[in-house]
């Protein structure tokens, strides 16, 4: 099966093609095609996982663009433990989200379009995961970006949605530009783009250290954009304009982790550059705390989760930067499940209330008990409470930070505190107290409830895969060798305590759904609150300052273009015209005259060429 792992990606593409070719006329058919394709893909992924666990490794590539001199571009796919894990994560979360969407998107005008885009997205994401070279990956990387654009802008009739879609696309493109430069840079130095070749080149020291650092930092730019790291994180909160299942799948569990995956994939290269590692770790750590702080004040339930996502992605990036790649991937693995669950829960509430506003919710535990329980479990997991899944991976990351960089450790701990606080603020405001808004009195469709129930399982238990208790199967699998995880008891204790303190603070402030607490706090900490609500004025910065620079630069280029380049081009044109005016007398329009001149010239040339020969013979 591993030999044909590309099938996993091809299935959703097939679904997409079928929908685009005609199945779109029937929404139900579109949906079921998508679900079928992904379900099959999921089953195949599990099979691949088994084979990989048994020791199989696959890499196939074919020549795409031979450039001579032994250079050339290839496309292909590879399956190794990292890929296998990602395949399972992507297909399983996708499957649940698609099933969830059956109910959530029911009756939407763009139902088929939604499923078509979802299929295309799944294909792109799986392709990205299967890619065996930076180039192949980059192709799917951009496809993923495109799908994200399509899905964020799904309700394109809403101006905010289309603006958010554009923003996501453009901001990530900024990072992608760096990524592309990095690809070219690495190709320049290594002569190949296949991961294996790059790793060998780096290991053999064929890439100069400085070049490796620059190249990896440029590649990291791509990850910064796609995984919404500071300073390109601004698009992700806005991306919540898309349908909630999209947020759950793309902006929590899959696409945004592409950046993390990229860094994990190129980790063997990254390892060789301490500087790049440092930059990656600092950016990740800073993003973690930076985003968490904004989560505290957000009132839009999905934005809270979005900030949380950014913050957790920061965690993962930081882990990779600290050299704990498998811990980062482990966190990615766990996070995918509980964050998807959180988003689906949020979707369930939004479906019920028709609003994202936390202050309009309240007391929903009675109407949606399952959602309440699921949210609480996922939040506890996210906060890192023993023994839920988040605890294990977060603990590994914290332990790595504690042993290498105290400053980052402090930041991470603060993030743990903030995470616990804003998550439980969300829960208290949404579920406790008395209802504050109108609810639709319709029962939740089964297709929405079941994915929640299913996702609770990995949210609780997926962490066990990485515990020392069971011999850390996850880490061993990923590294391809037996790796023992040690529970760093002091760190675990401290982080649990900090998380509990965060929950306590949330209870003190917002327990029983005291929404008015927000206003009181806002008044009390006016400057900080303003700063946070305005997201550190990052968007203003981009709109005002950066945009002005860009526009100024554009103005300058325009002037240069007009006065220098155009003048030159026009000069050539006018010279040609004046030359032509003097020559046009020869152009009588008589075709035969031209032919005559042509042949007369040919004969003359032949005679001239033959003259020496004739002279010589006579």
């Amino acid at each position: 099966m591993s030999n044909n792992a590309w099938l996993i990606a091809a299935l959703p593409l097939g679904a997409f093609a079928l929908i685009a070719l005609g199945a779109r006329r029937s929404p139900a058919l579109s949906a079921w095609l998508t679900i079928l394709a992904i379900g099959l893909g999921g089953a195949l992924s599990l099979q691949v996982l088994r084979e990989i666990a048994a020791g199989a490794r696959i890499e196939q590539s074919m020549e795409w663009l031979p450039l001579g001199h032994g250079l050339g571009l290839t496309v292909g796919f590879q399956v190794d433990p990292l890929t296998a894990i990602m395949l399972v994560v992507v297909t399983s979360v996708s499957l649940l989200v698609q099933i969830y969407s059956l109910g959530y998107m029911h009756g939407d005008n763009g139902y088929s379009r939604y499923y078509a885009a979802m299929s295309l997205f799944t294909f792109s994401m799986l392709g990205l995961v299967l890619a065996n070279s930076l180039l192949t990956m980059y192709i799917f990387w951009e496809l993923v970006g495109l799908c994200s654009y399509l899905l964020i802008g799904h309700w394109h009739e809403r101006p905010e949605a289309s603006a958010a879609a554009k923003k996501a696309f453009i901001v990530t493109r900024l990072g992608d530009f760096g990524f592309l430069l990095g690809i070219l840079f690495l190709y320049w130095h290594a002569g190949t783009l296949e991961f294996r070749g790059l790793e060998e080149a780096a290991a053999a020291g064929r890439i100069p250290a400085a070049a490796l650092t620059v190249g990896m930092l440029l590649v990291f730019c791509g990850a910064v954009g796609k995984s919404a790291q500071f300073p390109l994180h601004v698009w992700l909160p806005d991306a919540m304009e898309g349908p909630t299942p999209v947020s759950a799948l793309i902006h929590a569990a899959t696409m945004v982790v592409a950046g993390v995956y990229l860094m994990a994939r190129t980790f063997p290269l990254l390892e060789h550059s301490a500087t790049a590692m440092m930059v990656v770790a600092v950016v990740g750590g800073f993003t973690a705390i930076f985003a968490a702080s904004m989560g505290i004040v957000a009132n839009d339930i999905k934005r809270v989760l979005a900030y949380s996502t950014v913050s957790q992605l920061g965690y993962m990036i930081m882990a990779i930067g600290l050299g704990a790649m498998s811990a980062g991937m482990f966190h990615l693995f766990n996070h995918a499940f509980f964050k998807a669950l959180l988003f689906l829960c949020a979707g369930s509430l939004i479906h019920l209330m028709d609003t994202n506003d936390l202050s309009a919710m309240g007391g929903l535990r009675r109407q949606r008990p399952i959602t309440f329980i699921a949210t609480t479990i996922a939040a506890l997991s996210l906060a890192g409470i023993f023994p839920l899944s988040g605890f294990w991976s977060k603990d590994e990351i914290l332990a790595a930070a504690a042993s290498t960089n105290p400053l980052l450790f402090a930041a991470a701990l603060a993030t743990v505190f903030l995470t616990a606080t804003y998550m439980f603020r969300l829960i208290f405001l949404a579920f406790l107290g008395n209802p504050r808004g109108q609810t639709h009195d319709h029962p939740e469709p089964l297709s929405m409830t079941i994915p929640l129930l299913v996702l609770i399982v990995p949210s609780v238990a997926s962490g066990l895969l990485g515990t020392a208790l069971f011999g850390n199967p996850f880490g061993s699998f990923l590294e391809g060798r037996a790796v023992t995880a040690e529970v760093n008891l002091p760190v675990a204790g401290i982080s649990t305590a900090v998380a509990l303190a965060g929950i306590l603070l949330a209870w003190v402030l917002y327990g029983d759904g005291r929404v008015e607490a927000s206003a009181r706090l806002a008044a009390r900490f006016q400057p900080v609150h303003t700063l946070l609500v305005n997201r550190y004025y990052m968007d203003h910065l981009y709109n005002g300052f950066v945009a002005r620079i860009v526009l100024g630069f554009g103005w300058l280029s325009n002037r240069i273009d007009l006065s220098l380049i155009d003048a030159f081009v026009n000069g050539i044109g006018s010279t040609t015209i004046s030359a032509a005016t003097s020559m046009r007398r020869m152009q009588s329009g008589q075709l035969q005259a031209y032919a005559w001149a042509f042949f007369a010239g040919t004969v003359a040339l032949a005679v001239v060429a033959a003259l020496p020969l004739l002279m010589g013979t006579r």
Partner: protein, 167 residues
């Protein structure tokens, strides 16, 4: 030897016929007659092809030139009936200079052909059927030109349609 003699006889007969056809094409005052002289040339050239061992090409020559191109030309003649007979030659100066240049081309070319030492024949010219060989080289060595030629035909067909309809 007698077979060789037959080949020579055929070559001179049909070569001469083709040249007579070509001259007739130019000299004829009537465009329709010109066209018929062209048929003589084309058919004779096909016969020359057979003598030179290119039987497939000869069949194609007949099929395409006589079957398609000539019919097309005659059709064109019938659709543009004005001035079918009257002015056939350009101004005297142009005619004379044109013939002079053509003659010069012939003399220069022939002089070259005669004086060049051509390489010895590689292998014996065979009269074996050529169809299969041509087909094979068309689809292997010359696959790209073949495809380009097919595209060219398509473009020409569409172009001819468009021009004829809009004109």
């Amino acid at each position: 030897m007698p077979v060789d003699f037959l080949v020579a006889g055929g070559f001179y007969t049909f070569g001469l016929a083709s040249i007579i056809g070509a001259i007739g094409l130019i000299v004829a005052r009537n465009v329709f007659h010109s066209a018929l002289f062209l048929v003589v040339t084309l058919a004779s050239v096909a016969a020359v092809f057979v003598i030179l061992g290119a039987d497939f090409l000869a069949a194609v020559q007949v099929l395409v030139y006589v079957g398609a191109v000539m019919i097309l030309i005659l059709f064109g003649l019938m659709l543009t009936p004005v001035n079918l007979e009257v002015p056939h030659l350009a101004s005297a100066g142009q005619a004379v200079s044109g013939v002079l240049v053509a003659g010069a081309v012939f003399i220069v070319t022939t002089a070259t052909l005669v004086s060049v030492q051509w390489p010895k024949v590689v292998g014996i010219p065979s009269d074996a059927p050529t169809t299969e060989q041509i087909g094979e080289s068309l689809f292997t060595t010359y696959a790209l030109p073949f495809e380009i030629a097919s595209v060219l035909l398509l473009v020409a067909m569409i172009g001819a349609l468009v021009i004829a309809r809009e004109g």
